[in-house]
Point group: C2
Chain length 208, copies 2
DNA sequence: TTTTTTGTACCCCAATTCGGGGGATCAGCA
DNA sequence: TGCTGATCCCCCGAATTGGGGTACAAAAAA
């Protein structure tokens, strides 16, 4: 059973090239190729493809926006983003929107087919530069050490879940005033002066 | 100039296997291979390798902990994690600690050398299953829509940075009571009853 | 053994936040 | 034209939080 593919790419030469490349192999059927993704969601409902090749930057509607729409009703189809950009924002937006893989256009000729196969195998193929960005974004920038004790961490954790002092006291079987003591120490160490600051700093710097 | 490599792997057979594999090629020199990573930081300082192969699960000290130590003083060396696990926690901990790549042991024989080369090229090679996990972890699980107005989002944003009502009032040129008004509406929409809850929910669900 | 740290708990006072009420425009829409 | 939604402002009272202390026992460190 051949793999059914839709293509959205505004550069005509590249669009044709992609079609040609896929048609060389018996395994693929190109169900359509358009220069914008305005009706992509409709196309997907109608054609129900296995794979979509989606340019990121197209006139009228970005590929990322189209991916968001498609993902609202279809989690299955493998969506490979094609782009010349390797800047953070575009890539992360697309990944968050639900793209399955990410291919830089300069790598298309030799990687397109393997990437499509890897997506169909449930993988998430990325050009090396993209993989590097993704991994880097997850790495902690040498998280400052605030020297919390175990108990302090526990209480800060509860605070960050939105608990009031009272609720924390109940859950830890400690006195209300004890909780206040701990929180005062925590604020001192964190150099903050309110619960919102503490919560925001804790979550954003992944302190727990 | 050959690539200098250190190995930490508690399974003796695999450790030998890795050495053999690398020694087949003139490009690599194995500077040492140990069954635990207790003195890994010292080894790295002393030998200054280009690449480290690091098992995740070893007796005495986990590979992830060793990576953290090494990264404190060396951001350059490429560290490839080796593991049988493909469960979330181990993988993410290692990535966050500063691993450069992630190879499942079942893929070692055919991928070790290409992965090492990709790391040296500044990439972040991952076994397909790992790449999939990493990408999945970044995707938004269809963020609930709380129907905030533009103004409400602005104020919620300021609240999440740790600002007090007063500070928000100053920064927006609005009256203190106006801010209170907005925040009451925001709490209503978010179904929360305190700033900490609101901040925690907003950040964790990436609402802004 | 003395000192320091950690964990626990309490007091007072002032500032801030929260929940309940109002109300006033103004724009767009039915 | 009346209605709804968004934006703006105010009062009251109660609850919660923030900052300054003190106290003491147990554990850890010196």
């Amino acid at each position: 059973m051949p793999t059914r593919i839709l293509i959205y790419e505004d550069n005509e030469a590249l669009r044709r090239g992609l079609e040609e490349l896929l048609l060389l192999s018996e395994e693929f059927i190109v169900g359509g190729a358009w220069e914008n993704c305005l009706h992509a969601a409709g196309d997907v409902r109608e054609y129900n493809p296995d794979v979509i090749l989606m340019d990121i930057d197209m006139p009228g509607m970005t590929g990322t926006a189209a991916v968001k729409e498609i993902r609202r009703f279809n989690k299955e189809v493998a969506i490979l983003m094609l782009t010349v950009f390797d800047d953070n924002k575009h890539v992360f937006d697309a990944i968050r929107a639900g793209a399955s893989g990410y291919l830089l256009k300069k790598n298309v000729s030799d990687r397109l087919i393997p990437f499509i196969k890897e997506m169909l195998d449930g993988g998430a193929p990325m050009s090396p530069a993209i993989a590097k960005m993704v991994v880097s974004s997850m790495q902690q920038p040498a998280t400052a050490d605030y020297n919390f004790t175990v108990k302090e961490k526990e209480i800060l954790g509860l605070l960050c879940k939105g608990n009031s002092y009272k609720m924390i006291a109940t859950q830890t079987n400690l006195a209300f005033e004890t909780i206040r003591s701990y929180i005062k120490n925590i604020y001192e160490k964190l150099q903050v002066h309110s619960a919102t600051e503490a919560v925001s700093k804790t979550i954003n710097e992944r302190l727990l």
